[in-house]
Point group: C2
Chain length 361, copies 2
Amino acid sequence: MIEHQLDVQAPSHQYPIYIGSHIINQFDLYAPHIGQKTFIVTNPTIAAHYLTPLQQMLSEHQIEHTAILLSDGEQYKNHDSLNQIYDALLTHHADRKSTIIALGGGVIGDTAGFAAATYQRGIAFVQVPTTLLSQVDSSVGGKTAINHTLGKNMIGAFYQPKAVIADLNTLNTLPERELSAGMAEVIKYALLGDAAFLQWLEQHMAALMAKDATLLAQAVYHCCQMKADIVAQDEKEQGVRALLNLGHTFGHAIETEMGYGTWLHGEAVSAGMVLAAKLSQQLGCLNAEDVQRVEHLLTQAHLPIAPPKFAYPKWLAHMSHDKKVQNGQMRFVTLTKLGKAVISQIDNTDLLQRSLQDYLA
Amino acid sequence: MIEHQLDVQAPSHQYPIYIGSHIINQFDLYAPHIGQKTFIVTNPTIAAHYLTPLQQMLSEHQIEHTAILLSDGEQYKNHDSLNQIYDALLTHHADRKSTIIALGGGVIGDTAGFAAATYQRGIAFVQVPTTLLSQVDSSVGGKTAINHTLGKNMIGAFYQPKAVIADLNTLNTLPERELSAGMAEVIKYALLGDAAFLQWLEQHMAALMAKDATLLAQAVYHCCQMKADIVAQDEKEQGVRALLNLGHTFGHAIETEMGYGTWLHGEAVSAGMVLAAKLSQQLGCLNAEDVQRVEHLLTQAHLPIAPPKFAYPKWLAHMSHDKKVQNGQMRFVTLTKLGKAVISQIDNTDLLQRSLQDYLA
């Protein structure tokens, strides 16, 4: 049953997000967006739960389908996995009318989306996010990418899906660690742009972590709505969209330093948001109580609030690859208050070092 | 001196093509389109002629520059070269305001353009085509790509440059074989859409092959104008733009079968255009005299008119990967008369086999 439908009005392309329960095999949601030949990109963990029913649905409607199973984990969001998709597409004679169905979390969506963006200069794809993180964030808005050993998400494209089909029921099979990781992105939306939603989350975090279906649906819908609004304003991250990177500059440094997959992306973003809050405190915008409030909410979601310790030059080196760097200047998303984010260029690296001081090796 | 300026009115982005002599180091043509940090992608052959002056020009204007030298040849239009560019960009901290300058022929332009399309989800690039082929065709219109072992240009993006700077003087250092290869694309424009231009080429081919500067400038300008018109109508090859692939379905099969770089792209397109003419004859649209006229003009440009011999199933296998295939149906660009091309779906493979019959192993 579809509980919510949103439309993303991106300048390059408009498309629907369907949010509901037991909609993952609802053919009429797919039908307008797919060709005669489909390629389901997923991983073995997700496939065990959802692949066979999806294949049956496609077969029943005489749609050809080929499954492409990538290894599971952020460390596989790389060129080898991308090439595995290209090889399968070419071997099975995918053409420009073929469609990729990205069935899984952020790694699957980002990799499959980038394959769709670049195979024969672009074919259609449908996002079927099966994790909280991908439902609230990565499946919406057309950011596709793979990692490079020197930096996360360094190779990619802005390329919108034809549709997003978010089945809340898939969250029932989600491991708790991944639920937490997704909750980091939910909390991010509240911190960057919605103080009332922050209060709502503080009030309901225990129930959300207990997978209360009604509350989860509300949270997913609210985050998608915020994301859709931001993407409509700024599809290609020339301005306001960069605010969605709250915690991500620090978070990407953690992921790159620790090796992709050691920390989940959402965990790194969680510690990264604490660091962004501390930097905002250094800038005189937040007080100690605000920072504690951020830490408390993240802790309620069973998320780490302290990054791993490593040396300051390593932080600097990783963060100098950040995509917000412009003409060599580092830029961070900081908070002017809880619920309001801005982009700050940080020329004074003392401030930055002080924000990190408790965590330097 | 700029002799001609054209504007490409692509839906996604509008940009100038400058055509002239001794304009490769004219800074005011670059200035509006580049950031503080530039990356010149080229190869050792081109670098020997044009890299140092370009670097001097950039240095004089306090623009940072890094040269990235790819190996020379179609066989290097692949993921390894692409990754060489990514590595250099990351190592030298390229950011979203950095600019790639593609200095060279089609291989350089396609590979560097695809790197620009995908590095950090897209950075600016300027095309500086130094071959006839790239000046009349590949540098204009935003098709970027690399080859895959299973098919040519299979991985790529539609991504427009910020400007094209075509210096006709660079043709003076162009080897004759490459001049011929470029002339194949010039002849292509005449065959697909301009019977008067075909007559003009027949009249002037000897002088063009002798590098008559005035005539070459006219030919380059005319082809760029035709290309700009087509790209303005159909940036992403949903319709009319596919006509620019005249001879390319057969040509790509030749390149893939022989190994990239054995035949130059323009040589393969030349033999491919003869095959397209023969297919058009099979379809009852051209007569034997028309086909001979095509062969004669290509021969005048010192181009091959017969493909290498290989077995029919191999032709079919290579052509089934063509990007014009839709829902499994092969589609070819054919001629209704000399100067007028259409897309034809070929269901009757007997016709196809008969077009190839003289060249089957």
